[in-house]
């Protein structure tokens, strides 16, 4: 398993390099550069040229990419074109809010969706199962921005029960600002993960090894939770990995609506300002998290259900 993990990490490194190269090329292909973005409305062409020279944008693109790559090899992500602040500071600023949202979401998501999935599976076809199915399928079809808009209008503005945004707030000191964003973030993953757990549990309960365990006279609770559940959760782990990746990638819409200055907001601002070093730095972070999260998910899936061999 260690060899497998190392090999995956090596492939991951290549993937990260491919991602940052693609991001560099894509941002280059966007119309306008940092100088144009900074010059604003009705810019004087002479000023755009001056800004380009001041930022070093008059250097060939390949040279700039090469310089950035050699910096990356030394662990230096460079400085923002526009403000001159180190890119690492941007990442550190955005990582805090993003991590808080992701960790709290996952801590709530896993028990909640497993519980709902198991309850529905054990009552397959019953009233509880049908109600849960209806609600989860319905909720899953609502895009998060629509849910956010409705929740803010009702609970934030009309009823005034919860803060409508997290503007200027310290997320840990004022946790009430996190309630609405967390509801929005959890709504869809809870539905998709609990659906997978339900399906997995139904399959597992009908599987040969569970029937065998029952024949051996193992108690029903133990059969359900020690034998069926791990197999039931294994397919959901991949979905959890995707959700984790999504949460760590900065959930742009939720951040924008609730004014949470996480990685997504930094990405949007950096792309709008064509601040290439910041975009590149974020691409590295996102690519690394994706590789790691998926690796961990495969290893966890392997532990939960060793029989489903991992394609190495």
């Amino acid at each position: 398993m260690t060899r497998y993990a190392l090999r995956r990490l090596a492939i991951g490194l290549v993937q990260v390099l491919a991602v940052v190269t693609a991001v560099f090329l894509l941002v280059q292909a966007l119309p306008g550069d940092a100088a144009v973005a900074l010059a604003g409305d009705n810019p004087d062409p002479r000023r755009i040229e001056e800004i380009r020279a001041a930022m070093g944008l008059d250097q060939p693109a390949l040279d700039r990419f090469g310089a950035w790559l050699s910096g990356l090899a030394r662990g230096d992500l460079g400085v923002s074109l526009v403000s001159g602040r180190p890119v690492v500071e941007f990442l550190a600023d955005g990582l805090g809010p993003t991590l808080i949202l992701a960790v709290v979401s996952l801590v709530l998501l896993v028990p909640l969706s497993v519980l709902l999935g198991v309850v529905a599976a054990l009552r397959e076809g019953g009233v509880v199962d049908r109600v849960l199915t209806t609600v989860t399928v319905g909720l899953h079809s609502i895009p998060e921005f629509a849910l956010a808009v409705v929740l803010i209008a009702v609970f934030g503005v009309q009823l005034g029960w919860l803060p409508p945004t997290a503007v200027g707030a310290d997320l840990l000191a004022q946790p009430q600002v996190l309630v609405l964003p967390l509801v929005v973030l959890l709504a869809r993953p809870v539905c998709s993960v609990s659906r997978l757990v339900r399906a997995g549990m139904i399959d597992a309960l009908a599987s040969d090894h569970v029937r065998h365990a029952r024949r051996l006279g193992i108690g029903e609770q133990r059969v359900r939770f020690a034998h069926a559940l791990p197999n039931a959760v294994a397919p959901a782990v991949q979905q959890l990995a995707r959700t984790t990746d999504w949460l760590l990638g900065g959930v742009i819409v939720v951040e924008a609506v609730f004014v949470i200055p996480g990685l997504g907001t930094i990405l949007v601002d950096a792309v709008a300002g064509r601040d290439l070093p910041v975009v590149q730095g974020l691409a590295v972070v996102f690519a690394v998290t994706t590789v790691l999260v998926n690796l961990v998910a495969d290893l966890v899936g392997f532990r939960l259900a060793p029989r489903s061999a991992v394609v190495a």
Binding site: P45, S83, D93, F145, V149, A153, D269, D275
Partner: protein, 504 residues
Amino acid sequence: MPTRRHFLGLLSLAALSGCATPAAPQASAPKAGGRLRAAFAGGGAKEVLDPHLANLFVEAARAKAMFDKLADLGADVSAQPRLAEKWEPDATLTKWRITLRDTKFHNGQPVRAEDVLASYARILDPNRAFRAKSSLSLVDLANSRAVDARTVEFALKRPFIEFPNALAAFGAYIVPAGAEDFSEPVGSGPFSFVSFEPGKSVVLKKNPDYWEGAPHLDELEFVIANEESARANALLGGQVQYAHDLTPTTARSHTDGRIAIHRSPNSAVQAFAMKLDRPPFDNRDLREAMFLLADRQQLVESVLAGSGQVANDLFGKGYQYYADDIPQRTRDLDKAKFLIRKAGAEGLTVRLDTSTAAAGMVEAATVFADQAKGSGLTIEVVTGNKDSYWSDTLKNGSLSSFRSGAMPIETHIAQRLLSDSGTNVTKWARPEFDELYRKAVSTVDVGERTSLYREMQRSLHAEGGYLMWGFADWIVGAAPNVGGISTAPANTLDWARFDKVWLG
């Protein structure tokens, strides 16, 4: 003008709620104390506290809270003395003697002539690209000097009666000599620095020794909320007391008194730019036909949702030197048809380039194309990329959408309407017009100067390339207990100014 940011626009849905009877902003007697939180759109990576780099609205507002310029723009967009107590040109208008106010920076050091010269030298540094550079480029720094601690003598490269406009240029702030690190900025403005979290908040406290009187507020916090709907929601939820830059739709849907809407008229001009150096708009009759095709009232009602006024193809309504004696143009379809036939343009299709680079441009282009139906001329709207609109699209084609924020009429002419202007979008290049401008900026008598500006505006009105159809209001929301919010046009001194604001 700083860039307005528009993305995820559909989220503004959240800000819509019921309508009730309109409530006027409540005023109360000024009251001291309290902390006001103001929400602005920000720029993440772009956000800096260096006042010379100020570019976004939030940066301009923060810079004005912490720093002073020698002059700034008043309600009629003419330069008013600020850190400069007074200015006196010599007879040639090339030497200007400026007396500074007796005041101090936040660190207790006096504001000296040396600081002024150092600030301007920093802005004019050939290796850097500060925004005020082009406005101040007529200063001959080598021959300018500090006469004494509070007197500066500026030498100019040419006679220029409007030199105070340059002193009021966007970003021309006075910083202590040698200042390069702005992580804890020191200025002379009404508020002093407390803390900064980029992309999130800036906290300032009042400067009790401010030369114009201490602010009413004890503390001022700028917070960043990029989405217009988020700013409106934060205001409705009581999380902020001031929300900058709201849309007309939001303003219209909140008339129930929960929030007060403050409108600054004549803040931005909306226009179409015709290029005079190429067909078809090198034909004067066709330009006049275009002027007559526009139903300006309808454009204001639909595109600006009524939050604005019609324009008369001239920049700067209500500003100093504005030619308000020229009759307002109105739609005249028959005359337009006649002129189109006369210009031989019947059956012609003209491409109108536009983009979402500024609010309302695409909508205006679409409405105008509709208004041109039945005139013999067909206008085909082409929506281009918003990111390269100002730098590329506007240079090409023959007809494009245009928008501009407030600036003195002199600056508008200098930047856009002279043969050698940097952003001459309409390609208006007339030696006799250049000559009028040169004469105006070297004329001391204000009456004589005004008549020269009016003469320039008459020729622009008659045959210029800008079809200016409307002036948009700048819209700000505030809690009903906030007093002292000015309605001077955006980009002027009193806009987004917080030392005169109080919490009732």
